[in-house]
Symmetry: C2
Subunit: 394 residues, 2 copies
C-alpha cells in the first residue's frame, strides 16, 4: 500500500540539523551543531512566580481560546520593544506566531506559487530553506560579503528573473555566517524592493544579542511602502520551549499572515502569551538580555581565540559581533560532511555548511555554534576539531 502524496512532498527532506541533534543528545558529545540558547540563561525563578500569578488571577482566560492575532498586551509590548531596533509599530501591526519558524512558513504560503522565485543570501538559514521548499519555489542565491548582500548582483537578479516574490534576509548576525549588514546595504535593499515591487522578509532572531558596537536600525525601519515583514522571536532572548515569535507588517500585509494563521493552528498558546506579557511587565527584559550577551561574548571569545591558536592558517572564519554562530571556510578540497563523521568519532558535532545553500555546493564550509557549550567544552571541542582538519590537510 502506498498513499498518493502531493508533489511538494518530493521536496521535503528531514532537516540535517534536527537529525544531527538526535545523534548529539548524548552527554559526552561536544555539540557546536544546534542553535540552542544556553539553558543556564532561562528565567526559571521569574517564570515560577509569573505562572502562579497568571493561573491565580487570569486562569480561565489563560487556558481558553484567544484571538488569532494574539494577546493584546503582548502585541503592544512587542511593538514597544521594537523601538530598540528603530522599528515603528503599533499593537495592530503585530501577529503572534509559534516561533519565527512559523512566520517563515507563512511567508512562503502567502507568496509562492510553484516555480516562483525566492531570492536569498548565499548561504542562508537551513530552516527557512526547508520551510520554503514545501511551496515549490526556485531559489536564487545572491553572494554576500562582510557588509551584506552584493547589491549590484541583487539588482541584476531582480531585473533578469520573473516572478520574484520576496527577498529573504537575516541582516543581523546572520545564520549561518555570523555577518551583519551595513546601514547602506539595508537602505539599498529597500530601494531595490521598491524598484521591482518585491516583498522583503526580514528575519531577525539575534538582533538584540550584540556583544559590541551599536544596534543598527532594522531593514523595516527603512521601509517606505509597507513591503517589509519583520520576523522576531523570544526563542533566543527568553526561551525556545514556549514557542513564541511574531510578525510585524503593515495592516493589509499582516492581514494575509493572520488569515493563514487561522487555518494553520487558530492561535498560539494563550497561557504562554499571558506569561510572557506579564514577564515584560514585571521584569527588566533588557537586563535579562544583557546577562545572555555577557555569557555569549565570553564563549565567542573562547571559541575564536582557540580557533586562532589551533586551526591551520588555510582555514578562514567569521568574527561575529553578536548572535550564536561563526562560519568556517575550509580549503576547497576538503568536504565538511565527510569530516563531520570523523569529528563525531572525537565526540564533536557541527553542521556541514553545504546544507545552507539551497542550490547545493560549498561543501568545504561548516557552521559552529558557541552559545550552548561552556568555555571548557568549547576549548576542548575546537582542539579536537582542529585535529580533524589538520589530518585532512594536503
Amino acid at each position: 500500500m502506498s498513499l498518493n502524496y502531493a508533489k511538494r512532498m518530493d521536496n521535503i527532506k528531514a532537516s540535517e540539523i534536527r537529525e544531527l541533534l538526535k545523534l548529539t543528545q548524548q552527554p559526552n558529545i561536544i555539540s557546536f551543531a544546534g542553535g540552542m540558547p544556553a539553558s543556564e540563561s532561562f528565567p526559571l525563578e521569574e517564570l515560577l512566580k509569573i505562572n502562579k500569578d497568571v493561573l491565580e488571577n487570569q486562569g480561565t482566560v489563560a487556558l481558553q481560546y484567544g484571538p488569532t492575532e494574539g494577546y493584546a498586551p503582548l502585541r503592544e509590548a512587542i511593538a514597544k520593544r521594537l523601538e530598540k531596533l528603530s522599528v515603528k509599530a503599533e499593537a495592530d501591526n503585530v501577529l503572534i506566531t509559534s516561533g519565527s519558524q512559523q512566520g517563515l512558513d507563512f511567508a512562503a504560503k502567502i507568496f509562492i506559487n510553484p516555480g516562483d522565485v525566492i531570492v536569498c543570501e548565499s548561504p542562508t538559514y537551513l530552516g527557512a530553506i526547508n520551510a520554503f521548499k514545501a511551496y515549490e519555489p526556485k531559489f536564487v542565491e545572491v553572494p554576500t560579503d562582510d557588509d551584506g548582500m552584493d547589491m549590484e548582483e541583487l539588482d541584476r537578479v531582480l531585473s533578469s528573473n520573473e516572478n520574484v516574490k520576496f527577498i529573504y534576509v537575516i541582516p543581523d548576525f546572520q545564520n549561518p555566517s555570523g555577518k551583519t549588514w551595513s546601514v547602506e546595504r539595508r537602505k539599498k535593499l529597500v530601494e531595490l524592493g521598491n524598484k521591482y515591487n518585491v516583498a522583503i522578509i526580514e528575519d531577525n532572531p539575534y538582533g538584540e544579542l550584540r556583544f559590541e558596537g551599536e544596534i543598527l536600525p532594522a531593514i523595516k525601519h527603512y521601509d517606505t511602502e509597507g513591503r517589509v515583514a519583520f520576523l522576531g522571536t523570544f526563542s533566543k532572548i527568553f526561551s525556545p520551549g514556549v514557542r513564541l515569535g511574531w510578525v510585524v507588517a503593515e495592516e493589509e500585509f499582516l492581514n494575509k499572515f493572520i488569515l493563514v494563521k487561522q487555518g494553520a493552528d487558530l492561535q498560539s498558546s494563550t497561557i504562554s502569551q499571558l506569561e510572557l506579557a506579564r514577564f515584560l511587565e514585571l521584569y527588566d527584559m533588557d537586563a535579562h538580555i544583557q546577562k545572555i550577551i555577557d555569557l555569549y561574548r565570553v564563549r565567542r571569545d573562547v571559541m575564536l581565540k582557540t580557533m586562532e591558536e589551533e586551526f591551520p592558517k588555510e582555514v578562514k572564519y567569521t568574527y561575529p559581533n553578536g548572535g550564536l554562530f561563526t562560519w568556517v571556510v575550509l580549503p576547497e578540497y576538503m568536504n565538511a560532511r565527510e569530516l563531520a563523521i570523523k569529528a563525531l568519532e572525537k565526540n564533536v558535532a557541527y553542521v556541514p555548511g553545504g546544507s545552507f545553500y539551497p542550490n547545493g555546493g560549498n561543501e568545504n564550509t561548516m557552521r559552529l555554534n558557541y552559545s550552548s557549550m561552556n568555555e571548557e567544552k568549547i576549548k576542548e571541542g575546537i582542539k579536537s576539531l582542529a585535529q580533524v582538519i589538520k589530518e585532512a590537510l594536503k
Copy 2:
C-alpha cells in the same frame, strides 16, 4: 503599492466563527456561536502544582528546544489513552501538534495538489474547510444521515472522481451536526478507502465526551492497511489555551506529518508538553473528563428541552449523545445568516450553518453550542432565538 500574493490567497477568507467571536466577546451576549469548552472545567489547581513541579525539576528541559515528534512520555501516554477508543498505537505512532487544527493543515499539505479532491461529510467542520482551502482542493460533499455518511453515494463519488486524495470525517458527535457514525459505516468507510486506495483523515476532538451509551471504536480501529490518520486534541478535555493535539498514524504515513511539522514550526511547546505528561501521570484524566461530561450533559438537556418547548414545530434539530453542538434545520425559506443579525439584536449569537458546506447552499441551517453558557443563559438565549424564528415564520 500592491504585493503579488500566491494564487491560494484568493481562496482564504476570514473564518466566520472567529470574526463572529470578536463581536460576541461582550459580556451581555449569550453566545452559542463558538466551540469553547466551559472554562469552569479547567484544572487550575492541578496545573499550579504541576507547573511548580516541572519548573523546579525539569526547568531547563522545559524551556529548551525539544524533538519535532514531541516529548516522549507524552507520546506514550497518548498512545496508551487511545485504548479507550480501541486504537492500537505505540509512542512512535504519535506526533504532537499545536491543536488538531494543525493536523488538518498538515493533512492537506501532505496530500493536495491544486485541483485534487477532498471528500467530506455534508456539512463538515468550518475550520477544516478553511485549512484545506489554502491548498486549492476541490471539495466533494457526501450526504449524511443519522448513521454517518451515505456509503452508496461515497462509493459512487470515489468511482467517478479522479485524484481523490482523502476522505475527511468526524465520526463522533460531529461538528457541526452532533451526529455519530454507526459501527457498520465505520467498517464500510475503511473498506472503500482500501478499494479505491484513498487516505482517511479521522478527526476526533469529542469522542470521549459521551453523555450516554458506550464509546464506539474509532475508524482507525478498523484500519487494515495504514491509511487512516487519527487526529486528537486536548482542547476539549483539558484546555484549548495550551494548544496541544496529536496525529496517530503508521510510521511511514506519520513521517510525512513529522517532516511537514519541522518546516511549519519545528515543534510544539516543550513546557506545555511536559506539564500535560505530568498531569496524565499524577491525576485521573478519566475522572476529570467525567466532570466535563456531567456539566455538558445538563447543558445539552436544558438546551434541547427549551428548544422542544419554544421552537416552532417546523424546526428540526439533532439530539446529540455527546460533544458540544446541536444542529438546527429551519424551514427552507428561512435564511440563518439574515436571522443571525436579528438574533444579535436580542443579544444571542450562533454560527449560520451555510458556512459548514464547502460548496455553499443550505442557508436555512444553524449550529448551536451548549458547552460554554450556563443553564440559565441557555434557557434565556433559546427563548430569544425562538422568538426570532417565530417572527420569520410564513
